[in-house]
Amino acid sequence: MFETIRQIFIMSGLEELTAGHLVMWLIAAGLFYLAIKKQYEPLLLLPIAFGILITNIPVTGLMEEGHGLIWRFYHYGIDWEVIPPLIFLGLGALTDFGPVIANPKTLLLGAGAQVGVYITFFAALLLGFDVTEAATIGIIGGADGPTTIYVGSKLAPHLIGATAVAAYSYMALVPIIQPPIMKALTTENERKIKMTRLRPVSKLEKILFPIVTTVVITLIVPDSAALMSMFMLGNLFREAGVVKRLTEAAQNELMNIVTIFLGISVGATMTAENFLHPKVIFIFILGLVAFAISTVCGVLLAKLMNLFLKQKINPLIGAAGVSAVPMAARVVHKVGSEANRQNYLLMFAMGPNVAGVIGTVVAAGIFISLLQ
């Protein structure tokens, strides 16, 4: 009788359970709380938290190479670089490039907000991360989850879990991190600036935009092709207007399905031995710094542009240069609306927002081609 109980104990995971596992359970519990109670990016944080929990239950073999269920999701979805581009397909199908086409100057703001990526890259190098790790951490400054995961899978697979959680946490915290920075750098009158559409954009322009952009950007930065081509294909679906079913599938069903596999796989990379490491604390701090610097540079660049522009832009839209789509644009819209209710900055902020995505993808492509 006693012997049988002992056998069951040995077969179970209990004997293998370590303090590290328990710490990871607490982290999972914290993320459950943020996702369910606080509703911070629940679509991502909930599956991520569950992935963390089950990957830290010993002996299950769920992440065992070649066999485990979640290992397969991870391997074929993320290692094979399938899921992040599919998310981009959906984002492309959601984005209206009209305001960008009407006012291409706002694209520059997306470039300004990439400064944080590079500053953080060098800061991480100084702190002793190797060059591929530093690149992966720097990309957090672009606040772009799929791109962060994509770069991580190519350059520093052992950091994917931590960098992805950092990137998604900061994206969830965009409404908390950005507004104080935006308000500190602008005056009430600047925030009140109302933006008007510069000119109508024809359907032909909207259809040509994704096609021409794909050719130009993938010719210049071939390593951005996977993300950029899917992004623009989604947008072409939308603007062509003849494949409504495909547009809606990309925006909704497909995006939801891959989000499930992305979340649980990313969470499952956060095993106790990978995550409980002093480096991870630095990743979170550096990620926050990267994100804040990107916001500052975006707003300052917008103010700089206003010195030369006749028709002033609202400097708040510079903050949307970080590529958290469409979260950053939404924050811009809200802060602008607080200053002046008749201010609808959303689609104007989508310009720098999308340029930020392109900028981050290009930065990612450059890192990958130089470092891989």
């Binding site: 959601l94 209206d96 559409r197 469409p326 939404r330 008749q342 609808y344 959303l346 689609m347």
Partner: protein, 70 residues
């Protein structure tokens, strides 16, 4: 008599006023979903809602007339 124009593209998900209602500048007239988020559309002038030009579920484009205010 004034026209309330749609300030941006989106889909009407809620209309907060009825024809005949009296509204003031900055009152919420309707809620529009765009880029998967909800944005209130505020009145640009005070008056009586003479006519609503859209229904819940309609897609609107920038500068479409969405209501007539008198």
């Amino acid at each position: 008599m004034g026209k309330l124009l749609a300030p941006m593209v989106g889909k009407v998900i809620d209309i907060k006023v009825k024809e005949g209602d009296t509204i003031n500048v900055d009152d919420v007239v309707m809620v529009v979903e765009s880029m998967k988020m909800e944005t209130p559309i505020y009145a640009t002038e005070s008056g009586t809602v003479k006519e609503l030009k859209v229904n819940v579920g309609d897609s609107i484009n920038e500068e479409d007339v969405i209501a007539i205010i008198e």
